[in-house]
Structure formats: structure tokens, C-alpha cells
Amino acid sequence: MLFDLTADQEFLRETTARFLVDQVPPSRLRALRNDPVGYDPDYWRRGAELGWTSLLVADRHGGGSISGQALVDATLLAHEFGRHAAPGPMLPCNLVAGALSATPSEPGIALLDGLLRGTAVAGWCFAEGHVAGHLPGGLTTEIHIDGAEAVVEGVKRPVESAASASHLLVTGRTGSGLTQVLVPADAPGLSVTPMRSLDLTRRFCSVTFEQVRVPVSAVLGPPGGAGAHVADQLRQGLVLLCAESVGAIQAGFDMTSEWAFDRYSFGRPLASYQALKHRFADMKTSLEAAHGITDAAAAAVADDADEADELVSVAKAFVGEYGAEVLHDCVQLHGGIGVTFEHDLHLFLRRLTLDRALLGTPADHRLRIADLLEKREAA
């Protein structure tokens, strides 16, 4: 997270943080462990009133950035979600709301109103759960146009909040291009199978489309012409995952620092042992680096800078890998209590670990960085 926020940004961050502390303390997160939805709809509706789903939506559609860099604003929200391991469909609702606003359609605008008010939830059917299924070029789901209808065929997983969503935004291919179409969750031929996940409150499903038909008016933009928009959503999603992860790393680090001062062994606080102090220095360095690269990626995407794709992949590769090391170090420094369900540390480890695996692993993104580097050198 940036060191210096504007007054409006700080207001958003602060009200969100206070609301989360009040509404979803760790005890509440544990209570939601077996809840099929993972959050209370009223909690989500009240969060939406704080602006949780409006940041990536254009002014004319009822949203608006508070700083002129919409995605940077959204990272503050994601950061607080990570710092509190907060429940709710923050990621899919923001990405779909942004997409519906970027390419307005009649059913899209109708749904957008519900998303902004927190009374509707949407899912983004993008990843396909196999190698390269996290990259637009690797998608196999097909969307073809048959007269006045668009027909969707394929399997998407994992899809966040698909079970509580009224609509799903599906990304698939039409010939050699990409198409995005908004499908009602109760469309015939569409089946949703709940999955289990690492996180206590975030819910994922596998969604199968068997000749699912919707009117062409549900297609966002011209069929086959969604490539640039998909790339945008992917960049935004990756940045939000990183920002949320950084929040989780920060929470684990803060908790562990406090522990190091409070916990005495052999008559001394843990924080007085050089072997442990040096680990804290390494953890702090990784944490600050994760902040720095995530903020740089967010700014680059918000400004549509040339290096945005590279920075996004660098952030995803770094934050997932180094962040996990930091949180596992936090576990180690806590000792046995750190691997119990009773302790809060795992809430953050779970959140980071989940985010690390979504939209491409660190290894996937390292390969993408090499591809981008080669492409740039060849140019």
C-alpha cells in the first residue's frame, strides 16, 4: 500500500477497515467456516454502501474513482480485505462491474445497478483449471453466434461466488478472437458444482456450460473483439489479488512482530535473539518489496503504461512466492500455536495461499515475464 494516500483514499481505507473490524472479527470468520455462501448478504450490502463495488465503474454508470486512478483506489479495498481476511465477493463483483461499465449493454447496465447497491452478485468465468487456463490464449470454452443467440460450451473452474451469483460473465473464444457474454445463473444447460477451498469464507465452484443459449444482446461488444477488455480485466484481477495478498502478509507480519516482543523464552523476549531479528529483517524486506511492486503494478495498469503487463506478472510472481515464505516464517516464529486452528495466523496464510494460486501461479508468471522480455527485445 502507498505511504501517502489522499484524504479521500484514506477515508475509504479507514471506513472499510473499521467496518471489517466490527463486522467480521476472526470469531465471525470461524463461524462462517461451513456457511455455504461464506458471508452475510446484509454485510455485503452495507459494504457496497461504503463504495466497495463502485471503484472500477464509470461515473456515468453510478461509480467513480476517488483519485483518478480507479485501480489504485481499489487496491486499498483489496489491501484491507487481505489484512482482515474479509469475506465476500470483492474480486468478482469489482471485475464484472468494471467490465459491464467498460462495455455497456442492456442486461449489463441492469445488473450493474444491483452490483453497485450490493443486492446482486456476479461471477467471472475465466480460468479453466488446466495448464495455461489462466491466460487468455489458453482458453478453450467456445462462444459461437447462432442467429440471434450466443451459445456457450465449456467448463470453467474455479469460479468465485458462482453459487451466490445471479449472473456469470463468461470469457471464451469465438474463432481466433475472445468474446465475453453475460449469462443468467439459471440459464438452461448451465450447472454449478460447489468446490472446496483453502479459505474459510471464499467460495468457488466449477461451472459447466452445455449449449447454453442467451440473446446476442448479452454479448459485451462485438463477438470475437473482447481481447483488449479481457486483458484489462486480467491485469486488474492480478493487481487486486496482489494487493489483497500484501494485506494478508502485513497482518501476519504485524501479529508476529508483536508476538516477538511479548513472548519470553529463557528470560528474554524473542525479539532480542539475533537469529530471529535477522529473520524479521528479511521478512520486513520482502513485505516492503511486495508493497512496492504491487503499487507500481497498480499505477501502471491505472495509467495504461507500456510496462503494465510485465509489472503485473512480476508482482504476481513475487508476492505469491515471497509472501508465502514470510507467512510460513511467521508460523515458524510462533511455534506450535502457529499451526493451530485456534490461532488467527492461518486466516492470513489461507488468504495469501489461495490468491497465490488464482490467475496463474508464480511459476506461470515467471514464464510470462520471460516471454514478455523476449518479445520486447525482439521488437
Binding site: F280, A281, E288, L373
Partner: protein, 452 residues
């Protein structure tokens, strides 16, 4: 950073706004500077170099620095009364942007402009500033920092080099080490012990002295890769006038603390010119060339390594930006400079390992035909330099944990006793001819990763 020249002191308010300044610098660079060669683009530890070549390079850098001075681009943040431009760090950043892709006087930046000139600006008398700062900016004085000693690199305040008062002068005896290019430098800034009867931090004084004079013997040290840039100096009854003392007698640690702060700032100091696009370590770009030379550029394992290397490079850069801006705005305190130093040190070592792994056997046994892969193992052998030079990563970890995170300091046995009574161990002799526990300090054109 209160003492840094964030705005002109003693000069008029900046008259040229940053954009105009950048535009003027751009057009001047286009008309007057040559494109950067590899030396300007990739600052990393050099292997063996030809002595005459090196001297010629230094001579041409002096001229280049002089041309910058004449054109009004030297000492951007230095007050006009000392020959600088009296502008702001924003102007210096604009200059770094404007000079992207062009040659620049690599060897003049560190340690001459920072930390040496920075320390003179902060602690020097008016006479000392007038005498040295314009001369430095004109390219006439190259400086070295005489800080590390053979008896210990990290424990700077444990200096054994002694200065004894003799009327209006001081007599220096002892040895300093890890000065890059001392054999072609002009002046040295030296931390010496002036009082052995008080605790170690309270008996130090800082002096400046010409390096080419009787009593100063300079030996070049051969590093394990054949590099001979580092030197060791031996002082035998060197006479230093009291007017060449910086700061108060026995208060050298006050100077030293700021000196080392400037040292950690390295290329992020507003006193230093460091064009954009210059990489400070083995970059991922050269790794793709290397992989092509070896022919393994399509091997997914190699691509993974290249991706990792590029990731580390980019993150190091963005971390530096974050910490730099946080320090400028006051959001974080000065010890945070140890964070990017630690990251850069560790990541540079990793990059050298990656390069060697990509090079394969040709990095270890090669002929001239092996191109970019030839001898890459040499850099691997000196991999730890990035975690030693300019303050070890262990010291950085101490600074981060103790001064940034507020964790309890290490127990010390040398704080409250007269320095004379501090145990020094069997290997440490005041003549310093048996080096042990050493660390190189940054010299110009620094080895990989030397910045903080």
C-alpha cells in the same frame, strides 16, 4: 534528511522549472554526449583490466565532468556559492531522465560526490567547502573514503588508525582498506582515532588528506577474479594540518553516522547523477543474450530462471523507489535505507547464480568460442561481493531489526569502556598487515549491488 540540500542554501530560489531544465538537459545531451557504452549501462564488478586503459578512462571522465560543469549540469543540488546549480532533487531526477542512454562520469559519482562531497557540504568549514567543492564539481578532485580497516569492516567505530596532535598538525599512522582506485585518486576522507582513553564512539575524528604524498603507501589488492581495483593504504607519520580536520576533535562519530547514511543512499542521493536505464547488476536482459549464446533459450527451466532474474531486477528497482519516496516524504525513517540494500545484496547474488546455471559447463571451462557463456563462473565465485561491499547484509539486518523495528540491540562489551581496554583479538594488529574480517567499501564504478 534535514541536512541534505533539498533546496538551494545561500543561493537564489530555483529559477528554472523542472520541465524546462529537463528539456535543456535533453537537448544539450543530444548535442554533446556520446551514447552510453556497456560500461555506462551495466555497472558490475570488473575483471582484470589494462592499467593504461584504466588511467585513460579516468582522464576522459575528468574531462567529461568538466564539460558537465561548464554546461551547468554539475552539482545540481549544490548551492551556487560552491559552484553548483542551487536546484532541487526534482531537477536532479530530471537530469537522470534526460541523460538516459548517454555516457556519464561513472567513476565520479560514488564516493566522490557522495558520500565525500556530501560530508564536506554538511560538516566542512566555509574555507573547506570553497576549496574542495568547486574543484570536485570541475572534475579536478577524485575522492576516496578511508573508512574500513584491516582489523574490521563492519565495526567502523573500532578504527585503529591513529592521529596524534602535534602543534597545528596531526600525525597519522595506520592502515585503511577496500578503497576502489585509490591509486589514481586525489584525496581521501579518513576516520581516525584521536583518543584511546574514552569509549570508542567518543574518540574519533575525521580528516581529509591528499593521497599522493610522502608517508602514504598504496597497495593494490588482487581479488579472486583477478580484479585489482581495490587498494590498501598504509600511513606512516603522515602530517595533516588541523585546518583539514572535518568536524570537532573526538566528535568524528557524529560525522561518521551521516557519512554512512550518505554511503547507504549511494545512487539515490540527490548529489549523484545516475541516468535512468543504467542497471546496477547483472540484468535479465544480458541473461537472454547469454541463453541465446548457449542455445538453451527455449528450455522452460532456463525461461523460468530468466523470469525469476527479471522479477528480482524489477522488484529491486520498485522497492528502491518506494523506500526513497517514503524517506523523502518522512513516512519512514532513515534506517529504512537498509531495506533496499539488503534486497539488492541478496538478489544480486542470486542473479549471479542464475547466470552461471544458464551458462552451464562453459561457465566453468571455456574457450574464446564460448562467447557470452565463457567464464560466467567467475562472477559466481565473487557472488558474495554484493552482500559484503558497502556494509554487509548482516549489518543491514541489524539496522532493520533494531533501528526500524525497534528490537533490542545486541549486547555490546565495547560501549562504556575506554577504547584502549576493548578486546581486539589475536589477529588484529595496529599495523594492519594481517587482514581479517574485512568488507570492501564503495568506490566509483562500484561492484554489483553496492547501493543502499
Amino acid at each position: 534528511m534535514s541536512a541534505l540540500p533539498t533546496t538551494a542554501r545561500g543561493g537564489p530560489e530555483p529559477t528554472e522549472d523542472v520541465d524546462d531544465f529537463r528539456a535543456r538537459a535533453r537537448s544539450w545531451a543530444a548535442a554533446n554526449l556520446r551514447p552510453a557504452d556497456r560500461r555506462h549501462l551495466e555497472v558490475s564488478i570488473k575483471t582484470k583490466r589494462d592499467e593504461e586503459e584504466e588511467l585513460a578512462e579516468i582522464a576522459s571522465e575528468r574531462q567529461l565532468q568538466r564539460r558537465l560543469y561548464d554546461a551547468g549540469f554539475a552539482g545540481v543540488c549544490v548551492p551556487q556559492s560552491y559552484g553548483g546549480q542551487g536546484l532541487t532533487p526534482g531537477h536532479q531526477r530530471a537530469l537522470n531522465e534526460a541523460f538516459e542512454g548517454y555516457e556519464f562520469p561513472v567513476w565520479f559519482q560514488v564516493p566522490t560526490l557522495s558520500p565525500c562531497m556530501a560530508v564536506i557540504l554538511e560538516f566542512g568549514t566555509e574555507e573547506q567547502k570553497q576549496r574542495h567543492i568547486p574543484a570536485i564539481l570541475r572534475g579536478e578532485e577524485l575522492w576516496m573514503q578511508l573508512l574500513s580497516e584491516p582489523s574490521g569492516g563492519s565495526d567502523v567505530a573500532g578504527a585503529l588508525t591513529s592521529a596524534v596532535r602535534d602543534g597545528d598538525s596531526w600525525i597519522l599512522n595506520g592502515s585503511k582498506v577496500w578503497t576502489t582506485g585509490a591509486w589514481w585518486s586525489d584525496w581521501g576522507m579518513c576516520l581516525a582515532r584521536t583518543n584511546w582513553e574514552v569509549p570508542k564512539h567518543r574518540g574519533l575524528t575525521v580528516f581529509m588528506l591528499p593521497l599522493r604524498q610522502p608517508g602514504v603507501e598504496i597497495h593494490r589488492i588482487e581479488m579472486l577474479n583477478g580484479n585489482r581495483e581495490f587498494c590498501q593504504e598504509f600511513f606512516t607519520d603522515v602530517v595533516v594540518p588541523d585546518s583539514d580536520r572535518i568536524g570537532e576533535v573526538d566528535d568524528g562519530w557524529t560525522v561518521g553516522v551521516r557519512w554512512m547514511f550518505h554511503e547507504r543512499m549511494l545512487y539515490d542521493s540527490p548529489l549523484v547523477t545516475f541516468p535512468l536505464g543504467v542497471v546496477r547488476s547483472v540484468g535479465a536482459t544480458s541473461l537472454t543474450d547469454l541463453a541465446r549464446a548457449v542455445g538453451n533459450q527455449d528450455d522452460p527451466r532456463v525461461r523460468d530462471l530468466i523470469g525469476e532474474a527479471r522479477m528480482l531486477d524489477v522488484v529491486a528497482h520498485k522497492l528502491q523507489e518506494r523506500i526513497g519516496s517514503g524517506m523523502r516524504s518522512g513516512a519512514i525513517s532513515e534506517p529504512a535505507a537498509a531495506i533496499p540494500r539488503l534486497f539488492q545484496g541478496v538478489s544480486t547474488s542470486r542473479l549471479q547464480t542464475i547466470a552461471f546455471d544458464i551458462a552451464g559447463a562453459a561457465g566453468a571451462a571455456w574457450t574464446e568460442d564460448d562467447g557470452a557463456a565463457a567464464g560466467r563462473g567467475i562472477d559466481f565465485l565473487t557472488r558474495q561481493v554484493s552482500q559484503i561491499g558497502g556494509g554487509t547484509t548482516e549489518m543491514a539486518r541489524n539496522v532493520i531489526s533494531e533501528r526500524l523495528l525497534g528490537m533490542p540491540r545486541e549486547r555490546s562489551v565495547d560501549r562504556d569502556v575506554p577504547f584502549r581496554e576493548v578486546p581486539r583479538g589475536p589477529s588484529s594488529r595496529p599495523d594492519g598487515r594481517e587482514p581479517s574480517e574485512q568488507r570492501p567499501r564503495p568506490g566509483p564504478g562500484p561492484p554489483a549491488g553496492r547501493h543502499g
